[in-house]
Amino acid sequence: MEHVKCECGHVNPIGTVLCESCGKPFEENAPALLDMRYEGSARRSQTYNKTIIDKVWNFFSSVKVGVWLIVITLIASAIGTIYPQEMYIPPTVTPAEYYEEQYGWLGKWYYQLGFHDLYGSWWYMLLIALIGVSLVICSLDRVVPLYRALKKQGVTRNEQFLRRQRLFSSSHVDNYEALLPQIKEKLAKHRYHIREENGNILAEKGRFSRWGPYVNHIGLIIFLIGAMLRFVPGMYVDEVFWIREGETKEIPGTNGKYFLKNEKFIFQVYEKEKEKKVFQEAIDRVGSGMMAKNYQTNAVLYERVGPIIPGEKPKLKKVKSFSIRVNEPLKHDHYALYQVDFKLNELSKMSFHLIDKQTNKQFGTITVDLLQPKDEYDLGNGYRVQLLSYFPDFYFDEEGNPATKSKVPNNPAFVFKMITPDRPDGEVSFTAIRQTIEPLGDNKYKMAFAGMETRNVSALTVRRDFTLWILGLGGAIFMIGLIQGMYWNHRRIWIQRINGEVLVAAHTNKNWFGLKKELAKICEGTPLVMPVDQADKGR
């Protein structure tokens, strides 16, 4: 590597703008006020521009490019909020139809341009990735030379360096040696670290704040890596399952290890009489009983004991009982179970009397478990009822035949065969809620509705996310870096005697107002002239 030797004797890397040690500007026509960003150190991006790698490096190390990436991401993100994203539209509709139906031709275009899944699109991901690359290269391009420059900075500075600082003054001091201890004491009172060399002073504080931006960029990179790990299989479980009251189910995503029993699902609303007086008005406005107060699943968590044997009922050991509520997930072994949805009063059992249509005489009652119906119900004395077909969620399909939409008993319908002593071949009856069809002619007997039982169903989300701690770490580092960089600043004051004049120069990376106030206090009561803000001269 080539080097540049300064007149002070320090050897600088090529590309250096201000000598790392004494600050002498190397440029022929250095500006009246020195550009102190990155201490005038030799940045790779400003020095090399020959190979492809140089060009790529220079592209990503530019703050301008970084800001453009941020702005493009910002605009893209805003576009994604114009209409709801795909994940927020009703799950039963097809997106292609939904957007056009709801939002007209704009919605159609929105869908066709892929904005309905904007945040999952390849180009949005690419934008985020480019920001990540820019973060890394920007930081490396600056932090290494900056570190070198701050580490190697000398106490004695070149006169040009001092005169071209934004805050500068020169004073005539008769007895500089006597003044020095007083100045040093004042600087120390303001918590400056003081270095002295031949009567020249460098007072410095808050240098660590210079690392703030790089620390927060590291935090962001860790966060982005954490977000990327989400795509690695096994890092992340996200399942939803419905569980009925009284039911014990394997928890999906746990590979058969855990089971959950729903003992009871509770749904509560705010009722006017039961709540505090201050809430009355608010409850009145939305209506008593219209505002949800609590969604809760009283659950028992079980763990499987022994190996998984297909076809055999698992042996379970109770782990714990827990009331899962919104904001209070059940947590165990990195898994978390969240209350996300519910359905009240799902049909669970229906009962029917077998009656004679003419006399209304009853010959017994059957109760059909709507999830596990039996094929035949024996009522004794030669009376039997066979269940020929069962449609849990009944409708007539396009050809007019009975069919079922799902396995959930929302609208159960049955084809019964009633076998009685006087009708040994049986009579067939199609029985649904509020309707009976006798497909094979007039029957003597009928299945009359006798009652039903319902229960609540709870929906729970299962989550396990091994990336959370990485995201947390990244976030924490980001916050530390941000606070480090924003709430502290790096201030330096140089005091030097050159040719009988005492020069005072000062620099800070931000908050000049604070530095000026501090300098005023330091200069007060001494022969030193308060440094002038040379940036004001131009105006």
């Binding site: 910002l74 993100s77 909020t81 994940m87 809430f279 904001n327 989550r463």
Partner: protein, 392 residues
């Protein structure tokens, strides 16, 4: 307790108004400056008194409700106004500029007045909000936004000072747009209050986007009516035009009325002043140290950005993970918090590395505030998402 709370808020509101006048007096007093500025001293004292009163409102309402009063649009916006005053007090003691008070306090007053146009009763919490993270997340986010808003006030002062009013330009136009928006907020408050005092109510039957017949009650005369709306209340104005079902016609109607009232107020001001509003304000700010105002604007962003990040992103993610099972779900409010964050990140990079100081920085501060307000107003009222203030 709830009654006391409302009274305290009212007192705070009046005190902020009084303090604004004193800060106004401080500007005139500058010309004959000798010793400490009496007007400014009284101004800041009254501001602090107002802040304490509003803090009293906050605490008593918290006690009455049993939860932090940041659970609906009224409570959140009021709190935002309080934080804005708090941020101003802190910045005032660093920089001692009374002019900042003359601009920040009216913004806070507008914010609080705007807030009180929404339902004000103390409401119990829906399950998703029943968490300590409610006050941790919401208060920190509001504080961050308020500190960032101070940079808007400083930026506005800067622009009023530097934008050349001797001839019309893009800059004078946009500066007037900013002031018009502020005046329209006043227009919203005026129109809402006027029709509320008149007890205006018009009921409509209309067909919503799912083809269901529903009812909608207007509290302002309907310039735009709901989809296939039929006026049910006698003697009320028939809408000039019906809206399609996907547009919330009542909200749009309110926006139109606000802009209309704002335009009248703005027009009257222009008639009286016979020049641009910004031109009329310019003499007030002519003695200001521009570098200092620029510094205040930047400092507010530097202080507010970490607070905003912590409240609106970090705490938000933690709570979202607990309540909604995922720390990030691209809900519109989340996205707009991210947009705000990205914007201020760009602001800081432009300022630190590209040297965007002074006027450019001031325009950015204004845009930043516009984004924050968009998130507060439009995302709550127009783009309904998961965040519970939507629709209230």
């Amino acid at each position: 307790m709830a009654q006391l709370s409302s009274t305290l808020l009212y007192i705070a509101f009046v005190l902020y108004l009084v303090a604004t006048f004193f800060f106004g007096g401080a500007i005139r007093d500058k010309k004959a400056k000798s010793g400490p500025d009496r007007w400014a001293m009284i101004g800041i004292a009254v501001t602090i008194a107002g802040f304490v009163a509003q803090l009293g409102y906050f605490v008593t309402r918290w006690i009455a409700a049993g939860h932090a009063p940041v659970s609906n649009l009224f409570e959140f916006t009021t709190f935002f106004g309080m934080m804005l005053v708090g941020a101003f007090i802190v910045i005032y003691f660093i920089y001692k500029t009374s002019l900042l008070g003359l601009f920040t306090l009216p913004i806070a007053i507008l914010v609080i007045a705007y807030a009180s146009m929404f339902p004000r009763e103390i409401s119990p919490l829906i399950p998703a909000l029943q968490s300590d993270w409610l006050h941790i997340h919401v208060t920190t986010a509001a504080a961050g936004e308020a500190i960032l808003a101070v940079s808007f006030a400083a930026g506005l002062i800067y622009l009023i000072c530097v934008v050349d009013q001797s001839k019309a330009s893009k800059r004078t136009f946009w500066l007037e747009v900013i002031l018009f928006c502020l005046i329209s907020t006043l227009g919203f408050v005026a129109a809402t209050t006027a029709f509320r005092l008149a007890d205006y109510e018009a009921k409509f039957e209309w067909i919503d986007k799912n083809n269901q017949q529903t009812e909608m009650v207007y509290h302002m005369p309907a310039l735009v009516g709901p989809h296939e709306g039929k006026l049910k209340t006698e003697g009320r104005m028939e809408p000039l035009v019906d809206m399609p079902a996907i547009i919330n016609a009542r909200k749009l109607n309110t926006v139109i009325w606000s802009l209309f009232a704002g335009a009248i107020l703005y027009g009257l001001l222009r008639l009286v002043l016979r020049k641009r509003i910004a031109a009329a304000l310019q003499p007030l700010v002519k003695n200001i140290n521009l570098d200092l105002v620029d510094e205040i604007s930047y400092r507010s962003v530097a202080i507010g950005f970490p607070v905003f990040t912590l409240g609106a992103l970090v705490f938000a993610m933690i709570w979202a993970q607990i309540a909604w099972t995922r720390f990030w779900g691209w809900d519109p409010k989340e996205v707009w918090a991210l947009i705000t964050w990205l914007f201020y990140a760009a602001f800081l990079h432009l300022r630190l590395s590209k040297g965007w100081h002074g006027e450019r920085s001031a325009w950015l501060a204004v845009i930043g505030f516009a984004i924050i307000m968009f998130n507060l107003v439009a995302v709550n009222l127009v783009i309904a998402g998961l965040h519970s203030y939507a629709g209230s």
